[in-house]
Symmetry: C2
Subunit: 210 residues, 2 copies
């Protein structure tokens, strides 16, 4: 068995182990941020020894880098799917739904992203200024067009998108607070269903014309 390259995993076992490690790293990084996380914590979560982690990833940085890279693809997708030719209200509702599902299904990724932003986005600032900005510019134009056509109430498209990001990601990033405030088990269990209803109403009622 040859190890042709230490970057790309070849064997199935290598892929699996790298995934196990990434999973543990996500758990730790998303909670403590990059600086606040230790290899020991990650090793503990992964159930292997610290040097074994460094056998698969050359450094703590490299693990974090791969996590962030994988994250960004997934992060941009929901907005990319917004279709200029669809019905404005339906498209925006669907976007909210997608983002809320991401908050529900990938809360740790959301927190990883939040942590990165809090620290000044050192690893993704170029991406924010480039890919992300381009994508938002494009979709903001789409929304602005809908508004010009009288199919949506006029408001600032950029800040509209910010509001959608904020409200949906809040359910991942501030989950502890939300559960604390909701208090009773039933409300906690239904929090994402309730959130969806509320957000639909919030955005649709304010964007519907007339």
């Amino acid at each position: 068995m040859k190890k042709t390259d230490n970057k790309t995993p070849i064997t199935r076992i290598q892929k699996q182990k790298r995934l196990v490690i990434l999973e543990a790293a996500l758990e730790v990084f998303s909670k403590n941020g990059f600086r606040g996380s230790t290899l020991d914590q990650i090793a503990l979560h992964a159930g292997i020894s610290k040097p074994n982690i460094l056998y698969y990833y050359a450094s703590k940085q490299e693990m974090h880098k791969e996590l962030i890279e994988r994250l960004m693809d997934k992060w941009l997708a929901p907005l990319e799917e917004m279709n200029a030719k669809g019905d404005p209200i339906a498209e925006i509702s669907a976007y909210i739904k997608r983002k809320l599902e991401m908050a529900r299904d990938y809360p740790r990724q959301s927190r990883l992203f939040n942590n990165e932003i809090l620290q000044g986005a050192p690893h993704i600032i170029d991406l924010l200024n480039g890919e992300l900005k381009d994508l938002v510019d494009e979709k903001a134009k789409v929304i602005a067009n809908w508004m010009k056509q009288g199919r949506l109430t006029k408001t600032d498209p950029y800040h509209l998108i910010f509001s959608i990001w904020a409200t949906t990601q809040h359910y991942a990033d501030f989950d502890v607070q939300i559960c604390a405030v909701l208090g009773n088990d039933e409300a906690i269990k239904n929090r994402f269903i309730k959130a969806e209803k509320h957000l639909y109403q919030l955005f649709v009622r304010s964007l519907e014309v007339g």
Copy 2:
């Protein structure tokens, strides 16, 4: 000069130094979180030596604790001010305004809070389950009453409050991303004015009856 107690600062110089240190600590903690921050970083920001910091604060923990305590008072105030006897739309608009002003004027406090929540709120979980929950319960009742009286469109009061928290704090916590996406200087300069307009429209239009 007597040092009666090492908890409460007596002299003006002690108060000043403690403030300088807290200021530096806020700067560092809000960016890197508790674990990710070092006494050296704080000392550097404060312009004094590390042991000198520990002369005023017994430990890193104690500094963080005082910051969090000071923060929470300020954090609950805007919601407390919401008046059951006022006009619903005006009260909610004013609440949004207050929260947005906090995001604008105290972004580091907002990020400190965000960091604490991301880490599972270890230092304030009791406060969230106690004071915060009680306050939100009370205000949610007020809002629910307004809705029952037909003065606001019905929606879940808790999730309405969450939405206001999310949208306003987003402008502090995700400032890097917002500035990156807005790109041009003019839009960045006006971001809080634009945000206020947009949020008023978002919430007022969706909550107004009829």
